[in-house]
């Protein structure tokens, strides 16, 4: 297909959620998979090197348009946003604990942090950064939590495997200790 790159361009642009490779395949049934992958790669590179303010980023398992960071001040001026709201340190710590121990219960999280984490979990649930995924096969059958797609998108991660690795964590800890 001649204009495969452009078709993908249109699809990513129009998609409500990050557009996955699977969805692209569903739309472009006749196109061989490697062709799609290559066109996609070229398209991403084209936006990266172009003058424009927008580019395609990979997040939460799919592709989505976003502005380049340099234009943040202007965007905020337009939207009249002082600065994006950040998670509280308690919420962030709780979220890290869920991310690295999922699926996990409320009392497990509280034990890991040595603090009651009910309220932090509540905040994260409300923000849809974590979700209930069932119950643990344990006394009291407590609810189990996992991180969501929105969690990935929020931190610009493509998949849960992209979380900072054990090595990265150890490196950071050593830096802090020295």
């Amino acid at each position: 297909m001649d204009n495969l790159k452009e078709i993908i361009d249109a699809l990513i642009f129009i998609s409500v959620e990050p557009l996955t490779a699977e969805k692209m395949k569903e739309v472009l049934t006749d196109v061989p998979e490697p062709d799609i992958a290559q066109a996609l790669q070229e398209l991403v590179a084209r936006y990266e090197s172009a003058d424009g303010a927008i580019r395609i980023i990979q997040t939460a398992g799919g592709y989505v348009f976003s502005t380049k960071p340099a234009y943040d001040p202007y965007v905020r001026r337009l939207l009249q946003i002082e600065r994006k709201k950040k998670l509280s340190s308690q919420a962030l710590e709780t979220l890290s604990a869920v991310a690295y121990h999922q699926p996990v219960t409320q009392s497990e999280i509280s034990a890991i942090r040595s603090v009651d984490s009910t309220y932090a979990l509540h905040t994260l649930l409300e923000n849809k950064l974590i979700k209930i995924v069932g119950r643990k096969d344990a006394p009291g059958r407590p609810l189990l939590y996992r991180t969501t797609e929105k969690f990935l998108a929020y931190f610009g991660l493509n998949a849960i495997e992209d979380l900072p690795s054990e090595e990265e964590l150890i490196k950071l800890m050593q830096e802090e200790n020295s």
Partner: protein
Amino acid sequence: MIATETDPAPTPSPEDGYQVKLQVFEGPLDLLLFLIKKKKIDINDIPIAVITREYLDYLSRKERINLDREAEFLLMAALLIYIKSQMLLPREQPLEPDIDPRKELVDRLADFQKIKAASTLLREKEDAMSQVWKRTVLTAPLPEEDLDLIEVSLFDLAESFFTLMKRKQSENPRVIKGKEISMADKMNEIVAVLKARGVLDFLEYLDAQGTLEEALISFFCLLELIKARLIIAIQEQLFHTIKVWPRKDAAPA
């Protein structure tokens, strides 16, 4: 004994309200890690007597601690003292790593340290993402179709029910809320909505009405508008919703 040594009986004072802001440590593990770093202690070989003394000393400076969390800090104090007592027991041989009374605490500290490090790295990612903006996409209208698959989580389901319960609770059938709605206003509203959207899912529209009364009035208005030949209403299939269109040949409302 522990209690008398470490329990900083909260003295109500005007400053109590500010304790949360003064709080430096989120929890006991946080405090322990801080002390370990301060004393440059190897986490795998913690001199438990030293660290227990430091910890209790810190607890006595209660202005640094959020009183809400006091129980959790005291629990850790008790654990430290217990471990200390275990370490002091006379032994014939040096401690095996497996039966080291400190092991469980060390494991917890190591895990907590990792979570803290992860938080730091995630914060960096959050900062980077905060400068990146995605579009709020408005979905293009498409012909209605049956929706077959679903992509919702258990929490969506539970939350949906919770919202429903809340809504039910706030509804008091004996009280008619809101302003009085005239048929004329409602009819104008329906016509205006139709002009803007072209077609209307009537069940959805009724559902969007604030009160039962308003929904009823909307329904009567719909009948009136049909009678006046201003709109067409069609139910394509049994069980399906009623769709409403403005009549092309209708006189301007």
